[in-house]
Amino acid sequence: MYLRLPSKVLERILFFIDSNDDRNSVSLVCKSWFETERLTRKRVFVGNCYAVTPAAVVRRFPKMRSLTLKGKPHFADYNLVPDGWGGYAWPWIEALAAKNPLLEEIRLKRMVVTDECLEMIAASFKNFKSLVLTSCEGFSTDGIAAIASTCRSLRELELRECIVDDLGGDWLSYFPETSTSLVSLDFSCLDSEVKFSDLERLVSRCRNLKSLKLNRAVTLDGLESLLRRAPQLTELGTGSFSDELSPEALSKLSKAISACKQLKSLSGLWDVLPEYLPALYSVCPGLTSLNLSYATVRMTDLVDLLRRCKKLQKLWVMDLIEDKGLQAVATCCKELRELRVFPSEPDLEEPNVALTEQGLVFISEGCQKLESVLYFCVQFTNAALITIARNRPSIKRFRLCVIEPFAPDYKTQEPLDQGFKAIAMGCKDLQRLSVSGLLTDKAFEYIGKHAKNLGMLSIAFAGDSDLMLHHLLSGCKKLRKLEIRDCPFGDTALLENAWKLETMRSLWMSSCFVSFGACKLLSQKMPRLNVEVIDEMYPPETRPESSPVERIYIYRTLAGPRLDMPEFVWTIHKNPEIGVSHLAIK
């Protein structure tokens, strides 16, 4: 006899399992568990919209209430992916609208979303609650107006760093007077001024509003008025913080801010004038998240603010904070988990501020809970990296951008191999790593061997040869995403480790030395990968096989060739007749 868990019992157990990783494991146990799991999964995550067809996802998860999709590769953020590459939301929206009318939430990242998509969402999903678009493009404020006017139970509308065709601020006025369900509204990326009286009334009647992120066009007097109406906010993104205020007006604003006793997160603060920062002091003790990365304010003013933020867990700031400022943060902000330091003048050769590797060393010494780092700096040293790794083995995400390509350790002139070795070995839970500076193949040998939990790795201007790629693809057991630009490896390591690519989500390579011939060969041998050659200069099939291609994007897929490739993207499916005569495998 054998024991079998009745599916009703399994259902009950699965009710408590939210993590999709766990649910994926459950679905591999046996067919009946696969069935029970798929019929109970509510939140579906698809990390690459081309890895699987919309129809397959919709068919597998009939009870889906929330879909998260990611489109373009990460390097699209830095203009390395040409416009028109792909990542269209439409086929997904269409499939969902047809088969899944009870859908409540759509979260898209780096996808092309049109007004038609937004109108379709508004028209098709009666219970639609949440739209979160991150780094998306292709739509206008008209599409947003459709969502605002039609989605009766809308709770979340968040446009995070999207590129929107801004036809004016009318969209906000489309929220009906009866709509009171908003919990979160983020229109910080839009330029146009909305009709302020409509915004005021919207905020007044949405008593559950917890998160409000305004755009730059909202003035300080506007902000004051809104805060008076919504003191229950937990997250606030201010508008522009630089209008001239009389002392009375400033005091009024201060008072309105201090009434927000539950405020945990503060952002916006564009062009903030230093003399206005004290208006924020009252909420500092409660803040857990502070985004000062648009505040061009000097170190002393930043420190005056930050030393009051004893509960701060997440800090985004510009390099204007300098080493001294970070030293103060290390002393005062003991709960810090995440630090991002952005360059104030990204395109200048010389550092314009006193921010060096020492700043990050201070943080690693003082902030015991540090997990996540993004740090832009002109130059670095191995000693600093070694110290940081020793101080903070808890680091899970470490992204260092040494702005000068090929910059060695500026004290010893050596490559930064030893420093990154220390990070790879010391930070045992390292999940994400971006390396920079002068690095030889050795650095990647260390990373390949020691970074056992590394899921995502970004590399630029590094390495000497194919060994670099070979180390990574034959090591790094948990590697899911690898993105590389301007590194001198060629075909060999890629072809030799082709098997690895099916265990990963994707591999991006641009301005490397991979030949068209290798791409063809890889495509033929690995039918479950899409090997995309992205080349705006020449159609690859007109070039000799040995010529290197501009960019390659390789990802595993069950969906087969995509049907929406532009001219400048080639896959073997465009020329399936490529003869085998000049290709051979040993």
Partner: protein, 175 residues
């Protein structure tokens, strides 16, 4: 390539997939250094510094480097923005506007009207603004207060430092 020298651990040649008929030597791709001719940043140092007209040491624009999203780069580039402060007699708050947003006087005046909720009246060269209690004035590069509209738009937008919408009663007769 460098890997050929490392044959104690890796036998890449034995296991590699080759491009070429069996028995032929594989073709090596010519690689002298990373700075090959198709790289954008090959324009580093020598060429671009000559092309730079401004004296400041602006770095060569390598595409997508440093890896900062474009909205961050634009924010820090205040050099392109010409904000002027706008005040109105009797209004509690100043505003700031970017003169580049407007291409002529009617557009600017319309924007001011909507910003401060008033009407500006008809302009005529001889008599200035008639028909309203307000007179739009500006301070130019020389510190003089002038009537908005007296000089050609381009001259105005490049010399205007500040705008003030005066009450007619406060305005000097010359305006």
């Amino acid at each position: 390539m460098a890997y050929e020298e490392v044959n104690n651990e890796l036998n890449l040649k034995d296991t590699e997939l080759r491009l070429g008929l069996p028995g032929t030597e594989e073709q090596q791709i010519e690689v002298s250094c990373v700075l090959s001719n198709k790289r954008k940043f090959q324009n580093n140092d020598e060429n671009s510094l000559k092309e730079e007209s401004s004296p400041s040491p602006a770095k060569t624009q390598i595409v997508g480097w440093p890896p900062v999203r474009s909205n961050r780069k634009n924010n820090n580039n205040n050099k392109n923005v010409t904000y002027v402060k706008v005040s109105m007699d009797g209004a509690p708050y100043l505003r700031k506007i970017d003169l580049k947003m407007y291409k002529d006087y009617p557009e600017l005046l319309k924007a001011l009207e909507s910003m401060f909720k008033f009407t500006i009246g008809e302009y005529s060269e001889r008599e200035g603004y008639k028909g309203s209690g307000f007179v739009p004035t500006y301070e130019d590069k020389d510190g003089d207060w002038m009537l908005v509209g007296d000089v050609p738009w381009d001259m105005f937008s490049s010399s205007c430092q500040k705008l003030r919408i005066m009450k007619r009663s406060e305005a000097p007769p010359a305006l």
